[in-house]
């Protein structure tokens, strides 16, 4: 298990990285944290001719609150999200999600950008980015473009990224005041990829009716996905036990999960229902604590 040969590039700025990508095209691969890429290179399942290391591009790291958004540079390590005082205070959903990724040593190296570009349907960041309608900024030598997470993540390990493009930042719109949230997952062991994951945000109005619901399921299809119709239909409803039960039933039927050696599709459906009920209850608790 040793990687094949490659030519190593360490551009010092984004512009140089874009130029290299434009030059080398499909023969090149960007390495950020490398926590998903290097294992497959060690197994020689991936053998890029060129590796473009963006770790030295300091402008790509960092957590900022700007223009009402929380913007994370693509090189932000999971552990930095997990321990960011700003996020722990203002956006605790993100540290809570980061904490569920792999193990400490992996979180210390792996990046949010890498996770999004890898687009594993069981991974944490695609789930959260789609849940929260994150805006992604993408840079090529031709310029910058922006795309919502749900359009960026297209399928298993497939994203909307041109050969010369680099994901630079992920911007999360903050939760509304009093908006509850919860993230949960079923894993075989701590740190394993989720067999099923569910994330939710829930905003109630003063009368306790649902004002806004966002519900996102992971590992239940080729990408994490929101239950948009259900979210809209929930507006104005009272989130009682019967409603939670109904939502669990909807989650059960959602998506088209696969069977693999760790879990059958049927098990995944059951757990989607179970987790939906759990996270809605937890999020409701947060709503009520916040109001």
């Amino acid at each position: 298990m040793k990687p094949g040969k490659f030519t190593y590039h360490a551009p010092e700025n984004l512009h140089a990285a874009n130029q290299l990508l434009a030059e080398l095209g499909d023969d090149a691969k960007i390495i950020a944290g490398g926590q998903s890429l290097i294992p497959v290179m060690n197994l020689r399942l991936a053998q890029p001719d060129h590796l473009i290391d963006i770790n030295g591009i300091s402008e790509l790291a960092g957590i900022h609150q700007e223009n009402g958004l929380f913007t994370l540079g693509c090189l932000t390590r999971h552990a930095d999200v997990e321990t960011s005082p700003l996020l722990m205070d203002k956006f605790p959903l993100l540290p809570a999600a980061a904490k569920r990724i792999g193990h400490l040593a992996i979180r210390n190296r792996g990046t949010i950008g890498g996770s999004l570009c890898n687009a594993d349907p069981a991974a944490e960041w695609p789930l959260i980015a789609i849940l929260l309608d994150a805006h992604l900024s993408i840079q090529s030598s031709g310029g910058e473009r922006h795309t919502p997470a749900k359009e960026f993540i297209q399928s298993v390990y497939t994203v909307d990224l041109g050969a010369d493009e680099i994901l630079t930042t992920v911007a999360f719109p903050p939760l509304a005041r009093g908006e509850g949230w919860a993230v949960n997952q079923i894993c075989r062991r701590t740190g394993d990829f989720a067999l099923v994951s569910v994330a939710v945000t829930l905003k109630l109005d003063r009368q306790g009716h649902i004002e806004r619901l966002r519900l996102c399921l992971g590992s239940m299809d080729v990408t994490p996905f929101r239950l948009i119709d259900v979210e809209q239909a929930a507006r104005g409803k009272i989130p009682d036990k019967a409603w939670i039960h109904e939502m669990a039933g909807i989650a059960f039927d959602a998506g088209s999960p696969e069977s693999d050696m760790h879990a059958s599709a049927q098990y995944r459906r059951e757990m989607a229902a179970h987790l939906t009920s759990e996270v809605l209850t937890e999020a409701l608790g947060r709503c009520r604590a916040g109001t």
Partner: protein
Amino acid sequence: MLNKTAFSSIGKRQPRSEDYRLLTGRGRYIDDIDISGALHACFVRSPYAHARILSIDGADAEDLPGVVGVFTGNDLSQWTTKLRMAPPIEGVKPLEMTTLPIDKVLFHGDLVACIVAEDRYLAEDAMELVDIDYEPLPPITDMFKALEDDSFLIDETLGTNLISQQSFATPDVHRIMSNGDKVIESTFSEHRQTHLPIETRGIIAQWDAGCEHLTVHVGNQATHPYRSALAARLRISESQLTVISPDVGGGFGQKIALYREELTVAALARYLNQPVRWREDRMENLMAASHAREDWVRTRTVVEADGRLKAMSLEIVEDFGGYCFYPANYLARVIAMILSGPYKLQHYAYDVKVVLTNKCGNGPMRAPMAITSWIMDGTIDNIARELGMDPVEVRRINMIREDEFPYQMATGETLEDINPFETMEKGLALIGYEKLRKQQKADQEQGIYRGIGICNVVESTTYGSKFYKSAGIPGSGHEAAWVRVEPSGAIIASVGISATGQGYETAFAQTVAEGLGVNAEDVSVQLGNTDVAPYGMGSRGARGGTAGGGTAYLAGQDAQKKVLAIAAKMLGLNTDEQLSMKGGKVWRRLDEDWSDTKLTLADVARIAYLDPTNLPQGMEPGIQIHKTYDPPSMTYSNSTHFCQVVVDVKTGAVCIERYLIVENCGTVINPLIVEGQQHGATIMGLSGTLFEQVIYDENGQNLTGSLADYLIPTATEVPDLEIVHMNTANKRTPAGIKGMAEGGVMGAIGALSNSVSDALLPFGIVIDKHPISPNVLRTLLREKE
């Protein structure tokens, strides 16, 4: 004062002397040994489960700069002999294998060729350039299908895939079984697992052309038998071969046999006249080192109305994979021989079949007989369910009581010096069994499914030569040790056992110190080098303490005898009867009191080596003791495991709330080490029951080649274990020592499985296969909902 009866070194809770180097990064594992100019080997492996090799073209690979060569089965057959596994055992068919396959590969990951290059990176580059033409053959992945008449054959020369079958029946068993009593049937199946030492296998071989001597460094549990095998297959003398097993990162049974990769590397080092090294990667380790377990078991039992066992029959079918690195009856036969454990059973029959399939070859893994206690206590639980009795009552009525030992089992094996009834009763009191049962009922009404699982273990340890003979397994159970006192009084000891983490250096120092009457810190134990250690049978079958520590203890005692004889002369006494060693000094008894003679071991050693004319008449100079010892046929330990779980019926998750072990493992050499072994064994058993599984698909593709797919628990998935000791010495072993490193696996499998069945009793679910994953439990529950 000197107390002659109690142990002074044995029984001490002494932290290990091995730790310093391991805690500071100074250990020396295979990969840490720097051999200048060593070439690196890597192996091309089969992508098919079953295929003919039509051709191998290594020319492009050999053209790569830095590549020394690509070597095939035909090359290796010039330099090595075949392995012929043909033990003279009734019912076991002979099998042969070449060093590397020549015509046919037998499992996904089987060897095809060996590449030697200047480094491992280059060797893997070359691997991609080897061009191999295969003709795929139908894969045999199901042992029951392998037994069908029209099955494709793993080895055409055998005419069958049934590599071993052995049966036994007491005279009346079949008559009793067919008397018309209701026959209670239970099945158990254990899935395929692998040892997963965190250090994978590895070897470095160096040929000294001038001396015509081969030195190999290899992580191995039994260096002398290994040396015998390697010398024979290289057609060299054992005197031309030194085997050194340095620090080893875990073995668990995987590092006993001489593997084909290691033989290949050794042969190539000699052929190339250059050192060659190989370190297995994790994928190879998971797919192709050695697997274990995978069997299907059925018991059929008839009982009296009160639950007393009248007769029982056992069937085992074991999937052994494609190759036999051990005699095929090696593992399953022991299960059959010791099955009834702590229970009285005189009418018994067994039939044990072992089958070849297109999977990695099986071998012994910590507790080769691991499933035994689950079969027996699981059967007892089924009897209890059938009769509507409490499972504890059925255990009590069948248990061999104190006054019934020694007890001869139906198979002829004799149990003695164990206390299963006492360990069970002690545990029942500690967990508050009656109260817990009431609590369980109340909880069930609230939708909380709590289960209590009990497993009584009689652990077969320290197999003596006599057991091997009666079980029809080739081999000896003896062990060897030497103790030397050097002229300065320095003490060095060795045993023919090599360590893979068990703390033998510390434990053996304690037994030598006990025998010799010195402090354990003053004994240096040197293991794992065949030039240094005496010829012993290695570390396996929970024999380290009794065979290894015991032989070292006896050697220490002999050394003390010699020391005292010399001391008597030095003190001008006619006899040494009133002398004894303690703390490295000679003590003398005058009336009832012991007094220090001021004579030290160093004083005595100086005479022994440097002034031999002052030795007693006829005594040889020096203090060098060599001792061999063959332990009793079998040394049994026992324990009772209690596992309390809550099953979340929504998610299928099993939460272990409490785990208690009441254990009798004889005289404990070092409680710290013994508890560590019991932790490790028990967690390995829980791990195998809940998580681990080697999975082959229907094409024989191994799907579990990474640690993301082959799961062992992390620190967040294991319970804390409570261990209570009720030790009684074995009367026939040195210092009363018994083995103890495998029973934890046996107990854990049984106690956990039984506890989950107990929790799911309201659903009518009985666990009869593993792993008990949430997915599996949900599938079972779904059928009942």
